[in-house]
Amino acid sequence: MRWAREHPAWTMFAAMVGLLLFLWGMAIPLSLAPAPIGPAAGLFADGTRVTVMLTLVAGSAGIVIGVLAGLGKLSAFLPLRWFCNFYVWLFRGTPLLLQILFIWLVVPQILPESVEISDFACAAIALALNVGAYNTECVRAGILAVPHGQVEAARALGLSPFQTFMDIVLPQSMRVALPALANNLASLVKDSSLAYAISVVELTMVGYRIQAESYQPIPVFLTVATIYLILTTAFTTLTAALESQLDVGRKR
């Protein structure tokens, strides 16, 4: 990992390319494997794509939610603070599976008949809200870790509160928050498997179906586990590279 730390931009690029190649070409090597894996290679590839999409969509939405709610928790405006505290308390205090089921069953009832919301979207919303709640605490800690002198210097130079936040506070807070956020993202790759409960055909669901047809759970679940490991490794490499990119200010 020393090389990855010294060349963060390349590592990020390589991890991205690797992930894309993996998604794109996964069906080819898998199709060479003996039954029950080979014949189902296309299904594995589809399931992996859904898992990655869920992770990326929910992960990026979750970061935005985390930043907004993290700021909200530090706001001087008391009702906003209450609201953000309530949100974190609610989503950290209830099971993720329940949240997914709740959104899947309740949201269509609230929305007007004409609006269709896909199973995938329901899963993505629930996962984003859940990971967002965990991100909130990381972001808040990160913001509190930025020395107040940095803000004073920016304000004294005439930067607006918004510019101060975007240019000074947020980048510096990310340096502190990123390891924890990366942790949450790695968890999200795995948590996305709970979407199988609302019939989203992601990787775990694919594995479950294939073993149900072939009666061979061992090779099927080993394949699924390997794919998850490759995905989480790619995501952590990516975030590790990002971390050292943000760490420049501390390097000697």
């Binding site: 002198g149 004073e152 004294a156 130079l157 005439g158 420049v248 390097k251 000697r252």
Partner: protein
């Protein structure tokens, strides 16, 4: 020479909870003047300096900078902060940005200057403080004295009319104090208005046009350096001077 007022304060009060930090400070500072603000710690001199660009809002009284009233109006505040630069005791350079970016950020964001122009200007300023070679380094890679010189250059990049120095050498190792003072000395001759909170008596005596002595949240003496150092009017000032002289 006719003196044009640039900062006027009238009966400024400031409380921190029950502590009465500023007790009715009235003073006028003129364009091009270098004022050293002295006084024992806790006397309110730093607080006073920080009220001048509203890092500490004052509770009552009035502060006018370049004719603009410093109040809750954000437009006034922005206008004033564009004209008033500040140098801090702990430098407060932006830790995640290179030296060059520290200097170009505010001109690009606040003055809407183009990147090329901002960078040329930054390099010229870095040359002036003797740090042209350090432009691409990060603050942690510099010594304290170098960081403070960068901080001065960063404040100058906004072309301020007034520069506030809040104990600029107090956090420095002794061998680095002089490099910062010599930059400040050079600045003082350029005609920029400077207000310097400091414990450097030699600098105050040699460079300042005027000495203000704070005690218990109020201005006790306001005099020319010659008069203040050779013959202070009040016992408190005399005691303070003999204390700091012992330090040398």
């Amino acid at each position: 020479m006719e003196l044009k007022p640039i900062i006027e304060t009238q009966d400024v009060h400031k409380h921190f909870g029950a502590f009465h930090a500023l007790k009715g400070v009235s003073a006028t500072f003129y364009e091009g003047q270098v004022t050293a603000i002295l006084g024992p710690s806790g006397s309110g001199k730093s607080t006073f300096l920080r009220t001048l660009n509203r890092l500490e809002p004052h509770d009552s009284g009035s502060i006018r900078v370049d004719g603009i009233e410093l109040d809750d109006n954000l437009k006034h505040l922005d206008a004033i902060r564009r004209e008033v630069g500040m140098v801090f005791q702990s430098f407060n350079l932006f830790a995640h940005m290179s030296v060059l970016r520290n200097l170009t950020l505010a001109p690009m964001r606040v003055r809407k200057m183009g990147r090329k122009e901002a960078e040329e200007k930054a390099m010229a300023l870095l040359e002036r403080v003797g740090l042209k070679d350090q432009a691409l380094k990060y603050p942690v890679q510099l010594s304290g004295g170098q960081q403070q010189r960068v901080a001065i250059a960063r404040a100058l990049a906004m072309d301020p009319k007034v520069l506030l120095f809040d104990e600029p050498t107090s956090a420095l190792d002794p061998e680095m104090v002089n490099e910062v003072l010599s930059v400040m000395r050079e600045l003082a001759h350029t005609g920029i208005t400077m207000l310097v909170v400091t414990h450097e008596m030699g600098f105050a005596r040699e460079v300042a046009d005027r000495i203000i002595f704070f005690d218990h949240g109020a201005i006790l003496e306001d005099a020319a350096p010659q008069a203040f150092f050779s013959n202070p009017e009040h016992d408190r000032a005399r005691a303070f001077l003999s204390q700091v002289k012992h330090g040398y």
